[in-house]
Subunit: 338 residues, 2 copies
DNA sequence: TCGCCACATCTTCAATGGTAGCCATTCATA
DNA sequence: TATGAATGGCTACCATTGAAGATGTGGCGA
């Protein structure tokens, strides 16, 4: 493996001059530049990334923390972030926390060990008080997940409004007994959704059926269990609010298997407009988030912070949802495909 | 940010002794070790990763190259690889090539810049001749994708056999005119699938309907287009072999929308046993790969190579598939759910 | 014409944070 | 007596770049 020393010797110049050519810095004549480029080519020279990072104190790398890439919402979010980061000359590394407080802190350690320049957090496992000290080692931006406190930039959708609207939709479709199905996370985002849900119930003078609600549903399989739980213990339930399309898909699938009519016996709403929600039969009513826009903004905000560390502007970037009404909630009407 | 120098001073020892404690090396008394650990704690010292990598010439990091994480097959593969790599003290970085030759080479550059110790390639965009020189910079293991030439370790399923069996299944279900739907990739794996498909046709004396076959189907949307193409131009087609559940889902969805009876009018097989294939109506017959096993083996093989660079053992680890028969192919029988 | 200053172009030196290798001393064992 | 292990320190190095220094040239003013 050739080093910059080898290139300098072959070109008959100093290492610093070679470095200037590599980094496109001024004060090197064109003739010497060509000599250096040729020497690099002959030797197959490639800069050593560790050396550059150590000396320059920069990695040009961003870590994105998320729960699971097997959740298509996060897979799509990463997809867009990578594209945007690459445009700014940054590399993205994907860190799956699997909703573990420990893992989240392990990954935040990347800031301390100087393996990344900044971090995007798409979920929050630890309390903010635990995370905040890491800001000393580099900037953090929240995307998707958010909190009341304005400590760092946050890019997200209004989850309260989204939950409110999809619950109103369920109620408008005639649902009177609605189950609230969540993943049990006690984050602010989860609270917001529930607040929106409860607000809709309150406005329409419907009771919150806490006993029929579930706080352990994350995967499709969980959704199937949710349905069976409702069928066996709360058969009066005629509507289900879920926090993800995966769970909604599980509920719908199991209900259909059990011979229930969806949505007449049970209406279901999901979240995130995953491909699954369209392809199911019946197709699932869901909330669409502007994933690409949020991803782009997130990277932009973080990179600006890296370029200008003094401009520590903590602010919110709030995006609107879209309710996609499909067959899992449309009752007593001619079933048409949307 | 404290350095090892600061810790050494506070502990009243040399940097080397501190380093020995950090790296769990011998020849440091327990008393001195405690002094060092305490000093590290007081100073909040964290080793600088770039410095360690530069000096030790190791990153303890593995790059996994894959086409898209939005494809659940690869998302699940990564999930398992990360778990396994972590057990061996390695970090995984995810590199999406999006089937681009250029991106693939860009990521292989990580070997040359010393940003990763080894690479797992789950697909092949470039010819092997282009990739082989990178072996000088670090080991490469193929997982999922494979080639005839035994140049590096390869961990994969027998795609020929899998394609053969699912095609025979289509034929056994009465299909006489089968469309071969692929993504157009000209890799060995793609060839193997086609070979298995053609072998099944040949054994059952059925013609290969090249004009009705498609080589541009990757996403769900493509699958929908495939169906419309068949409906409009090749209505005699009564069976579709696809290389992925996403494509199969698109075909099935569009066929049902068009009022076709699946599988009586058109039987469809997918690949990879994505959740989608179970939740569709009708559920999609598919091929299941032992994803976790292949992932584990891949990491193990690569890590062993990193630990013992001389043991450059290029060999194949071949895994069997499982055909999951579901409703998209079961004809003329009582429709029961599997 | 000469001296001074600014700029251009390069080189030299040192720094980044950590660790690999070698050395010195002492003690125990064959 | 010779050798190896234990316990630590010192030195140099890993590959690159940031900062300072050296040198030459051109322009301007006295």
């Amino acid at each position: 493996m050739a080093t910059i020393e080898d290139v300098a010797k072959l070109a008959g110049l100093s290492r610093t001059t070679v470095s200037r050519v590599i980094n496109d810095q001024p004060y090197v004549t064109e003739e010497k530049k060509q000599r250096i480029l040729q020497a690099m080519d002959e030797l197959g020279y490639v800069p050593n990334s560790s050396a550059r990072r150590l000396r320059s104190q920069r990695t040009d790398t961003i870590a994105v923390l998320l729960p699971r890439i097997t959740n298509p919402f996060f897979a799509n979010l990463i997809e867009s972030m990578e594209k945007k980061a690459s445009q700014w000359g940054y590399q993205v590394i994907v860190c799956q926390t699997h909703d573990s407080e420990k893992k989240e802190l392990d990954y935040l350690q990347l800031l301390k060990t100087k393996q990344v320049d900044g971090v995007v957090m798409t979920s929050l496992c630890n309390d903010w008080e635990v995370i905040e000290p890491y800001l000393e080692s580099g900037p953090i931006v929240l995307c998707n997940e958010y909190m009341e406190e304005m400590a760092v930039p946050m890019v997200h959708m209004d989850h309260r409004k989204a939950a409110y609207e999809s619950t109103i939709h369920l109620i408008d479709q005639g649902c009177k007994n609605i189950s609230y199905v969540s993943g049990g996370s006690d984050t602010y985002l989860a609270e917001e959704r529930k607040t929106g849900f409860l607000k809709a119930l309150e406005e329409r003078a419907l009771p919150f059926l806490e006993a029929a609600s579930v706080d352990w549903a994350i995967h499709v399989e969980d959704g199937r269990k949710v349905f069976n739980h409702i069928k066996d213990h709360h058969p009066i339930i005629d509507g289900v609010f879920t926090g993800s399309d995966e769970v909604a898909a599980g509920v719908v699938y199991e209900a259909v298997q059990a011979g229930w009519n969806v949505p007449d016996d049970l209406a279901v709403v999901g979240f995130d407009n995953q491909m699954l929600s369209l392809l199911m039969f019946p197709s699932v009513t869901t909330i669409d988030q502007p994933v690409a826009k949020m991803a782009d903004r997130t990277i932009e905000v973080l990179v600006r912070q890296l370029m200008n560390p003094r401009a520590n502007k903590a602010r919110r970037y709030i995006y609107s949802h879209k309710l996609l009404v499909r067959n899992s909630t449309l009752k007593k009407q001619l079933v048409t495909n949307l």
